[in-house]
Symmetry: C2
């Protein structure tokens, strides 16, 4: 990606059964800082945003039936994805496609925390859920 | 943990079937920087250490039978753990135990990249593999 290379890890996302329960370990005991806890109707989740240095740790609890609820039932709780920030997501998606990798999202979609995101296909990452994001405003 | 709170995400670890194959996506296409690639006899893995900002992304491939190989066969490749850096690991382990959480490692053990590490028990983290580490020298 040359000058469009990954800059940093933006966030990691952990699928949990109960956000308020999980916060006790990460915040009360380990001392991560709570940025906010909120229900997102758009994404169908209750989410806690916790800061560890300059990386956001997102605890995600599905609020109803859907892919995350299915994943939780099938594989149990655990890491869901890591998000890498790039300068320009459109260009990154073009570069990923040109290199022969599959994506879940061919074009950017809005992130839960603003910005724009797209997921690569786990078949192409060797199994991990990898998100690429940028900090540009999503335009429909 | 008060003044022993988590400072930052030190690294994330991804279990892969083939380190050299996975590097193509993360390095050649996404532009993460290779710090080193090496076989570790102590840990029984081939590991690539890639930098994304100040977070290390470790790609881990088991070199033979053992818990990682079993995990790879049972659950397939994907995220293995996230490591949070604290100022003092001994104290962090005491605080985690005092709060009623279970650990896999009751005392620090040497990290693959130096420093000292210990894993919490996934039963206590709500399912995720969470490592705590510090940058002190391991003393047997």
């Amino acid at each position: 990606m040359s000058d469009n290379s990954v800059r940093r890890v933006d966030h990691i996302s952990i699928l949990v059964e109960n956000v308020d329960e999980s916060i006790k370990l990460y915040v009360d005991t380990m001392g991560l800082e709570v940025v906010k806890v909120e229900d997102s109707e758009l994404h169908g989740v209750r989410a806690a945003f916790l800061k560890a240095g300059d990386v956001m740790v997102e605890l995600i609890e599905p609020l109803g039936p859907g892919p995350l609820q299915t994943l939780l039932e099938k594989r149990g709780p655990g890491f869901h994805h890591v998000a890498f920030e790039v300068p320009d997501l459109d260009r990154a998606l073009d570069e990923v496609a040109a290199a022969g990798y599959r994506v879940i999202d061919e074009r950017p979609k809005p992130g839960i925390e603003g910005g724009r995101i797209a997921f690569l296909h786990p078949k192409s990452t060797g199994g991990a859920m990898v998100e690429i994001c940028d900090k540009k405003e999503f335009e429909d």
